[in-house]
Amino acid sequence: MTGTGRTVVEHTLRIRARPETVWRFWTDPERICDWWGSTADLDPQPGGRCLVDLGGGAVMRGEFVELVPHERIVFTFGWEPAPGAPAVAPGSSVVEITLTAAGDDTILALRHTGLAPASADEHRSGWGHFLPKLGAAAGGN
């Protein structure tokens, strides 16, 4: 039932702001909390910490791998083990962000790779934790 392969999550969007601005929203701990975390600890250099606490016990722990100013950010992505945390271990997946200028706008491409099949047990708890949040998001909250 569970595939042995790994899967990819991809998103692309056009933002009416310049790449320098968008870049700051990924690398400045205050700005990343405008859209992702409730608190964040970022050290944007290769090998530097990338920690985003989403609140409610969900903590994304990663490490910056590559940074090309205003163009590209690569970091490892995982949830800290906690009761109810989604089953993606720190270091087990990778997020690549590419920013491309288009006039005064930015095309942002996100590619999240390396997601490994989770064990049924881990998965069950992760799902239980996230279903209500999915519900809230899907409900346009």
Partner: protein, 115 residues
């Protein structure tokens, strides 16, 4: 990649609150259709059956026959679900990122455009 269609189907299936409630009901134990329908007194049996079909087609629940009953249970498929959860998280958060970044540049743009 293997998962795009599957993730879309899963997210569509999850977009409905009744279906999310059904998933919670069958998460830890297998339940017959009749008992599931019993949780939704305000919804007709055919409508509940339709929700169960959407969930089955999306691969989120498994169904098996037991005599004349149909038994449903949550399907453990960590890969697909982890991907669906992340896909949903990113689409939600990137929309907020877009809004925040555009708001930050908006005053300058408005000035430029006024000229």
């Amino acid at each position: 990649m293997s998962g795009d269609g599957a993730v879309d189907g899963a997210l569509r299936a999850l977009a409905d609150p009744t279906r999310r409630t059904i998933l919670r009901l069958v998460r830890d134990r297998e339940l017959p259709a009749g008992e599931i329908a019993g949780h939704f007194p305000a919804i007709s049996r055919p409508a509940v059956s339709q929700h169960l079909r959407v969930l089955t087609d999306a691969g989120l629940v498994d169904v098996r026959a037991d005599g004349n009953r149909r038994l449903y249970r949550f399907r453990d498929d960590g890969l697909r679900h982890a991907a669906a959860v992340l896909d949903e998280m990113w689409s939600d958060r990137l929309a907020r990122l877009q809004e925040a970044a555009e708001r930050e540049e908006w005053p300058q743009r408005a000035r430029r455009e006024r000229r």
